[in-house]
Symmetry: D2
């Protein structure tokens, strides 16, 4: 099972070439990550950060941009869990449009579980490890571009 | 005396109409406010916030957009102090291009001096009141559009 | 009748004081304007711009910030039409949280109808003038802060 | 020779964890790319896009985040050319602080030369190929984190 949310690509998130500015595409992936916490896991990310003092900052990312995203697009943004380490989680994100399965862009984002008071690495709590497993994404199922 | 900084209008700060997205113009005014603290007053705003626990959040603003700003523009952003109250400061900001004195846009931004630990209003310290007076801007000198 | 949409305030739309960066609040008002076109009027704003060559850029705005917006807030953003001129439309926007009717912030935004090929002022088409009247907002009903 | 610019990390480019929101770090790398065109090559990127109809959109990127960037930092952003293909250019970007040579973060960004009228791939003009060679960065000289 992977998580899917739909987001409106916004008027001000365009660059002077008339297409999506790629740092904004990564912002949309982060929005999908936040929606996954709220709607997929039932624990809003702000509560995780502030009450549970647990955060998942990115330490590494790889992104590929296959097809330009434009203003007016309302892409589906998908999230799956590619790898689960002791204190690291690698997510796969991709965007699709309408019924077209081929992605517009995708990213793998390696995050580290950290204590929010110290920003130091910690083990991912078992409760989340188990919940995350339901969103496992096999490498073979992480959609490629053309 | 008013303060002036020059900023590059950036590739990703454009909207789908090919001109500046106006929330970004307000961001550029805030950047000029930060540059004024660093370069005009010699006290970087992050230090004011964190060490002196003093902040100046906006409580009200009025902005007018006269001429579109485009990618490639490197506008001058000007700042002056329109009014000084006990715990409030009203700033005037405007942008110009090249030698042309008429502004592309302008804003008056009313800020409140607050204690950063509580976000409650406090008096503006005298040391800053005096320094700010050097940047006084008469209403008559706050440039209007066409 | 006024239009209402609900938006998630995002992790990256915060400033270093830990509250909403006000240019981002104006971005959220613009997002609500875009949602109004899609969901309130049934004509997505990108189609209006590109197919009908009609746009409504801001020429003037006044904003007031009453209560800080924080990460984790999912504010309602409201829109009404305060004034309709021949080629100008003034919108009122405000944010509320939960059942609390008092606004967190509000803005009046004066826009000019323009031809998107020339960015020159034009009359607002009658079809939109009539549709906009359904969203009329009396000055007395535009919520004030404390 | 690599190119270096200094940028002020801004008040509104922070996330709710109080550190740089990583899509904004990629925005700062893009700002350095724009500064390189203006200040390193003497041809502002907007002129390249609009007059020469040549653009270099990102098709792939890999980024690593080693040390949090905070408000108040005024990082140096460095750019070098890692690889030059017929129609592709791979850039290396990294940020440093003060005299400390170890990077706060880095990214390799693969771009494709495109015709801006069609967004189709084209060969990189020889004049730029030669100019870019002056900024060649050996893989061994692309700074790693700890």
């Amino acid at each position: 099972m992977t998580f899917r949310t739909q987001l409106r690509y916004r008027f001000g998130d365009i660059d002077d070439a008339g297409i999506a500015y790629y740092p904004k595409l990564l912002h949309y992936f982060h929005c999908a990550f936040e929606d996954w916490w709220s709607d997929g896991l039932g624990r809003p990310y702000p509560k995780l950060l502030k009450e549970d003092k647990l955060g998942l900052p990115a330490v590494k990312l790889e992104a590929e941009f296959f097809v330009p995203v434009r203003y007016g697009d309302e892409p589906f943004v998908h999230l799956g869990v590619l790898r689960l380490g002791d204190s690291s989680v690698e997510f796969g994100f991709w965007m699709t449009r309408g019924d077209e399965p081929r992605p517009l862009c995708r990213a793998r984002v390696l995050t580290a579980a950290v204590d929010m008071d110290t920003l130091q690495k910690r083990s991912l709590p078992d409760v989340w490890r188990q919940r995350f497993q339901a969103f496992a994404l096999l490498e073979a199922d992480f959609p490629r571009g053309r």
